[in-house]
């Protein structure tokens, strides 16, 4: 009988305490690596580690088995310290086949643990991965601690007697790999055992097979002489409170639902499936009891237009997409802007242009959301810095949209959307209220004036069904105050300025930009969106080395915070790391006439901390 980790947490082997570790599980896209990574994340979070994750998978659902194109990976960084990124390089790599080894080995630290499924390194597997010789036999892996584990064989043995086919048995291999990684890093099995029960409970033989393989993997580490020691990563010193591991797209969906509740609105989400935004739709669709109505439209244009219709009708209306979808929505976004109706347009950015790199991350849609519409068409833009920040940004987007009667563009990216981190669970009762006013019935007999404005230049949100407020809105230029169609030249200029000024006024309604580090100094790192973690970690490292470096991470991209210009004047050099060719950099130069230095990366991958540190040091000479 096997001994589970629960019953015998004390290993007979030596345990080494680590500050943290970065592990990547990779294999064929059918090998269940995303599931394994998710389980390792949840298990580590349960242990109290701070965690940051980076799922990386191909756009093809099932590329030909065993090929380089079909490799899927999931990277987890868990630590006893406060961490902001999934890690630059790997302490351990689990490769389920030769293709996974070939495509991921470069990221493994020299001396790092390399665990391979030995059984997959046969002639066929090596051929598919285009290996001329078997890397397990040719000394090419001498720089690493190589563990050759016959996972296929051990998995098949573990499930013997359960009546599973070979194919079904092999599907359990990811649980073997998980079990082994759990042993190596002193993780408990209970979180994953509960998961198995929840997910496979209705199929007892599959559940039992997965339980057995998970335990077999753990036991393999414990009993085999190959592994002489294991590791321990102590809990992190996070702020006190209750935590949950949060994926960006889920945090965004929950933030929207919270904003709906806090504004007394029902939520409408009109969208068209697109990677990497679709999980927002999936999450919202589960919560109809919150008054959530989701609409899967016939295309991106209809998704945007249905959102406008729902906004006119008085709902909290939202659409979500990625870059190609924004391109299709452009005309309707212009309509939303000129109608001056509140709604949220989410762009979960991915690698572009065109179809680009659907499953990879990039920040190259900033110019598109800023300027990608005909005419003068200002729309506020805000962005999330990480998975749990999505929750807060969603509420802020709705606050601004309703306060200023405008669509708001909310930017995230594939890295934030699929990544996860611990989320300090808030008390919903303490989340800020979002007050919304609608004009009441008008029985004066006088014509309702839909384009009158308050001190923020916001117009009234009059809802259909309200007696006496019947009015028409449209895409044609409208007369100030009455909203009637109007081609008068002066009126057009006045309205164009008014719409621009309204968006500019938001700068007075948002918090001033904060700087992490010295108020004045040699260098300021100015960043936005998903690069927050890498930039924060890089700046901290430089500060610890005594360099005069500050960091400002922008949430508000249009308009910029009112104090940003002053901040920029306080540093000799401004460095702007962006996963594009310098889009925010151009906007900053244009707005502030400042010479700023870009650090640009277009690989579909986030920045490594080291890349930013190197650039900072280079600039500081």
């Amino acid at each position: 009988m096997s001994v589970s980790a629960e019953e015998n947490p004390t290993s007979v082997k030596q345990t080494i305490v680590l500050e943290g570790a970065t592990v990547r599980l990779c294999g064929d896209s059918g090998d269940g690596m995303q599931l394994a990574g998710g389980q390792l994340t949840g298990t580590s979070a349960q242990l109290g580690n701070d965690v940051a994750t980076f799922p990386d998978f191909p756009a093809e659902i099932r590329a030909p088995r065993g090929t380089l194109a079909g490799v899927s990976g999931f990277q987890v960084h868990f630590s006893s310290q406060d961490i902001f990124t999934p890690g630059d390089s790997l302490n351990a790599l689990v490769a389920m086949n030769p293709a996974a080894l070939k495509t991921n080995l470069a990221d493994l630290d020299p001396g790092g643990a390399l665990i391979v499924n030995k059984d997959a390194f046969d002639k066929k597997g090596l051929g598919l991965a285009k290996y001329d010789t078997n890397p397990l036999e040719d000394d090419s892996l001498a720089d690493y601690q190589l563990f050759e584990v016959p996972m296929t064989q051990l998995t098949r043995t573990a499930v013997e007697g359960l009546g599973l086919s070979v194919k079904e048995a092999d599907r359990c291999r990811n649980f073997f790999a998980m079990g082994l990684v759990y042993w190596i890093y002193g993780r408990k099995l209970d979180t994953t055992l509960r998961f198995i029960e929840d997910k496979f409970g209705s199929r007892p033989s599959v559940a039992e097979a997965n339980r057995r393989t998970l335990t077999a993997g753990w036991n393999y580490g414990e009993t085999t002489d190959a592994f002489v020691s294991n590791y321990k990563v102590e809990p992190a010193k996070l702020d006190p409170g209750k935590y949950k591991n949060m994926v960006g797209n889920t945090a965004l969906a929950w933030g929207l639902m919270a904003a709906a509740k806090k504004s007394g609105k029902e939520l409408f989400y009109g969208t068209y499936p697109i990677t990497p935004a679709s999980d927002i739709l999936h999450e919202l669709s589960k919560h109809k009891n919150f008054g959530v109505r989701t609409f899967q439209a016939e295309d991106e244009i209809a998704a945007m237009c249905s959102t406008i219709g729902a906004a006119f009708a008085g709902s909290m209306a939202i659409t979500g997409t990625s870059g190609p979808g924004i391109a299709l929505k452009g005309e309707a976004m212009g309509l939303a802007m000129i109608l001056e109706l509140p709604m949220i347009i989410i762009n979960v950015q991915r690698g572009g242009p065109s179809t680009g790199l659907p499953t990879k991350t990039e920040q190259s849609d900033l110019m598109q959301v800023m300027y990608g519409r005909n005419g003068e068409s200002p729309i506020p833009i805000i962005s999330a810095s990480g998975p749990s920040d999505c929750f807060d940004v969603a509420q802020e987007a709705w606050r601004l949209a309703t306060r200023f009667m405008t669509p708001v563009i909310l930017m995230t990216d594939g890295y934030i959307a699929n990544g996860s981190e611990p989320w300090l669970i808030p008390n919903a009762d303490e989340l800020p209220e979002i007050p919304i006013e609608h004009p009441g019935p008008n029985d004066s007999g006088e014509q309702f004036l839909p384009y009158t404005r308050n001190e923020r230049l916001a117009r009234p949100w009059a809802l259909p069904g309200t007696a006496g407020l019947m009015h028409r809105v449209g895409g044609l230029e409208k007369e100030d105050i009455t909203g009637d169609v109007c081609y008068d030249p002066d009126n057009h200029e006045h309205m164009t300025h008014t719409r621009a000024k309204k968006v500019a006024l938001i700068a007075d309604d948002i918090p001033p930009q904060a700087v992490n580090g010295p108020e004045k100094g040699d260098l300021l790192v100015l960043s936005w969106g998903g690069t927050y973690g890498s930039c924060t970690t890089a700046v901290r490292a430089c500060q610890e080395q005594g360099l005069s470096v500050g960091h400002a991470h922008l949430r508000y991209l249009n308009p910029f915070p009112a104090n940003l210009g002053t901040i920029l004047d306080n540093y000799k050099t401004i460095l702007m790391p962006e996963l594009n060719l310098g889009q925010l950099q151009s906007l900053i130069r244009d707005r502030y006439l400042k010479d700023v230095v870009g650090l640009n990366k277009i690989q579909g991958k986030p920045f490594a901390v080291a890349e930013i540190v190197t650039k900072i040091k280079q600039l500081l000479g």
């Binding site: 809990p235 949950k244 409408f268 109809k288 609409f295 439209a297 016939e298 209809a302 945007m304």
Partner: protein, 339 residues
């Protein structure tokens, strides 16, 4: 206690905007019949929303004293869908044209029809692009000479009702701008239908495509060239009502009554048939093929409504799981506490 609704007249539905269609345009008649018909429904003005796209017809909402959106080209059905999803209590009219609805907005039109939201779509078919000054439209006949087709159009025209029936529209009808009584009656039937009501109106553009429907609207020829559909009645037409439509296998044919052919031999109209083939066959009867073109209600059946089903799901989820509780949601699943 009941609240008496004020009795509205056609004039109450007129907005203060000047109507700016060309003098003599068929749109005036459609606007007039709409304003005349709406009071009969007993729906207050504030409960009505008109949504349009782009084109001459799409100026329509500006002229109605109701709520309205003049949106962008072809997208009115999509706006209407979002609006109706969240506010099933509102009466929603989509006003579109042959270019707006069938060319740039074709995709939205077919999906709105197949979803069967409780909305009404009126397509003004003038077989030409009017607002852009006279290019051929997707309903222009083959060979049509226009500014953009000086040597004649070479693409096959679309037939709005065939498309609507192909999408299994639950209410499909046709009327003519000048046939005002019939138009008013048809709009009322559309308004009363539960589901997406699709109405094609033959509309004359007297500037760019004058007399396109003359055969169907001219006093001297209309009775020979059109046939008014009535549920349960045989298909009879002609000034003397001496001709009818008989089925020959799966093909319709024009027959003369008398000489051994009685009404009983004719095709009887059944707008309630759930099988759309008959309605489709009627939609393919075309003047150029020697048929009278049917006007009236081709199809009017009951089917589940998208907006009703969507809101039913929400109500059901609330009933089953209780009103959503954020704190319960936030604390669900795996959590851990740091002290």
């Amino acid at each position: 206690m009941t609240t008496e609704l004020p009795v509205l007249k056609a004039g109450d539905f007129a907005s203060k905007q000047d109507v700016r269609w060309c003098p003599g345009c068929g749109d005036y008649s459609i606007l007039a019949q709409m304003k005349k018909m709406l009071p009969s429904l007993g729906v207050p003005r504030e409960k009505i929303v008109f949504i349009s796209g782009i084109g001459c017809s799409s100026r329509f909402p500006y002229y109605m004293n109701t709520y309205g959106i003049h949106s962008i080209h072809g997208r009115a059905p999509a706006l209407a869908t979002g609006l109706k999803c969240v506010r099933p209590d509102l009466m929603v009219w989509v006003i579109t044209g042959d270019g707006d609805g069938l060319s740039i907005g074709g995709n939205h039109l077919i999906h709105a029809i197949r979803r069967n939201l409780n909305i009404n779509i009126v397509l003004f078919n003038n077989r030409i692009y009017g607002l852009t000054k006279g290019q051929y439209s997707p309903t222009s006949p083959l060979g049509k000479t226009t500014k953009s087709t000086p040597m004649g159009a070479i693409d096959n025209p679309l037939h709005p009702l065939s498309i609507a029936i192909g999408c299994e529209g639950t209410f499909v009808a046709r009327s003519i701008d000048t046939h005002i009584k019939h138009l008013e009656k048809t709009l009322k039937r559309a308004a009363e239908h539960q589901g997406t009501a699709f109405v094609e109106v033959y509309q004359n553009c007297n500037v760019f495509n004058d007399k396109a429907w003359e055969y169907a609207s001219d006093r001297d020829t209309k009775l020979e060239n059109t046939i008014e559909l009535e549920h349960g009645k045989p298909l009879i037409f002609g000034a003397k009502r001496d001709k009818g439509i008989r089925l020959n296998g799966l093909e319709p044919e024009v027959v003369e009554l008398g000489k051994g052919i009685t009404e009983d031999d004719l095709l009887f109209h059944d707008e309630k048939s759930t099988e759309p083939s008959l309605a489709y066959l009627l939609s393919r009867m075309r003047h150029e093929d020697g048929f009278p073109e049917p006007i009236g209600v081709f199809r009017a059946i009951d089917a589940p409504l998208y907006d009703v089903e969507l809101n039913r799901q929400v109500a059901h989820a609330r009933e089953k799981k209780g009103e959503g509780d954020l704190n319960k949601l936030f604390n669900s699943g795996e959590t851990w506490t740091v002290s």
